[in-house]
């Protein structure tokens, strides 16, 4: 811990403080009942900060033991983050059974594609920075999947309470900044690790503090009670109407195409 610069220590303290505030808000406003996985994620993050602090005291931040254990604890919080996000997406989309089914498939396909792309893009860097690659790969997959779901929500005009939007947006923002930080610092500073580490930690923490503030603002009020809305149409109605509409839209597009292909005739 002693080898970390003072500004990193200050940022660390601010980050933990922000998380504590958030946790208190979650309990005081009773929101922990509605989003238990998110509450667990915040609590786990505080525990992780304590754990890393504990690791830094005997071994210092650069020892292999510290790095391995710190990254292992990070993978736990990342797993909790995925669970919390899935829970919030479920709360938002589950009343819309058909769209939730579509969302599921979109999540799987997008995640699969991104994992393949990340593996292909980083296979040459794997040897010397496996933890960073894993971390970046996870955040890339996570952000893409959540944005795919948010796009789906936007496309179908599904009303999402602002607080949930802010939580999901916070997760995505953090993941995107993490990808950027990891990529840019890896590209420019990977040869001088001593300079690299404090900058990397500070920039991550600033992004995380920003997200904590967003979440605290989002959760300053109790979350709205969502009534479960059963799908009001039958499956056969969709099966009957959807192809019909698509056929009409296709015809309309063909007409438009013919219109476009016509020679321009000045009047």
């Amino acid at each position: 811990m002693s080898s970390l610069p003072l500004y990193v220590k200050c940022l660390w303290a601010c980050s933990v403080l922000a998380q504590l505030f958030l946790l208190i808000f979650l309990f005081v406003k009773g929101n922990f009942r509605k989003i238990p996985y998110f509450t667990a994620y915040v609590a786990l993050n505080i525990c992780q900060a304590g754990f890393v602090l504990f690791l830094y005291s005997p071994w210092g931040p650069e020892s292999h033991t510290t790095l391995a254990l710190a990254w292992a604890s990070e993978s736990l919080t990342l797993f909790a983050q995925a669970l919390a996000t899935f829970d919030i997406l479920g709360v938002t989309l589950r009343p819309y059974q058909g769209i939730w089914g579509l969302g599921w498939r979109a999540l799987t396909v997008v995640s699969g594609i991104v994992v393949i792309l990340v593996t292909l893009a980083t296979r040459n860097h794997w040897a010397y920075a496996q933890w960073f690659e894993l971390n970046r790969g996870y955040h890339l997959t996570f952000a893409s999947a959540v944005i795919a779901c948010l796009l789906l929500v936007r496309y179908y005009s599904i009303p999402v309470p602002t607080a949930y939007k802010m939580i999901l947006g916070g997760f995505c923002f953090y993941s995107c900044t993490e990808i950027l930080i990891n990529t840019i610092l890896q590209a420019f500073l990977h040869k001088s690790f001593e300079v690299y580490q404090p900058i990397w930690q500070a920039s991550r923490m600033i992004a995380f503090i920003v997200v904590q503030v967003i979440w605290t603002v989002a959760l300053r009020k109790p979350l709205p009670v969502e009534k479960a809305q059963a799908a009001s149409l039958t499956d056969s109605t969709y099966q009957q109407l959807s192809p019909e509409i698509n056929e009409q839209l296709r015809q309309l597009n063909e007409k438009l195409l013919q219109l476009w292909k016509l020679e321009a005739r000045p009047q």
Binding site: S157, T234, Q248, L256, L262
Partner: protein, 192 residues
Amino acid sequence: MSPALLLLAGFAVVLLILLAWILLDTRKFTKPEAHLDFTEESDRSHATYLRQVRQAMAVEDFEFLAARGSRELSQRTRKERRRIVLAYLYCLRNDFLKLWRLARVISTMSPKVGVAQEFARLRLGLFFFLRYELIRIKFLFGFAPLPELGSLSEVVSRLGVRLETAMRELGERAALAAKLASTLDGRRLDSR
């Protein structure tokens, strides 16, 4: 910076832009069922004004004006009428949008949604708006293929009528189901 890392950084920036676009969306969202109200106001589709629009852009009118009046008058009339046609095209787009939204509402309210159907509709919508913009530009630059515009209005109008019929049938079925359910409940109460 290697191309792979550049690609990753670029991807992250794109994701951030997309996120901002989604979160800064100012549209007011209501429950999907609220969008079904449009069926009541769609009795008079804009597509029904096609005859007047076609007449407004008839070449004979401009020739007559140029011969009897002046070339200036003919030009001014043409400009004004072109503005009307553009407004009409815009209204047609709105008609299409309403129907497209209705299709999405049906998907939202369905317990099962077909990926292929939804993807096809998304693709069709994207192509429609792309073509619409191209045709609009054509009009803006003074080229007006009016007979084809007629076919476009016809399709929008036909789609509207068919959807309205379908929605009316749905409403009737829902009412029948509700009636049946209440009758069954009543019987159950009687049997207790």
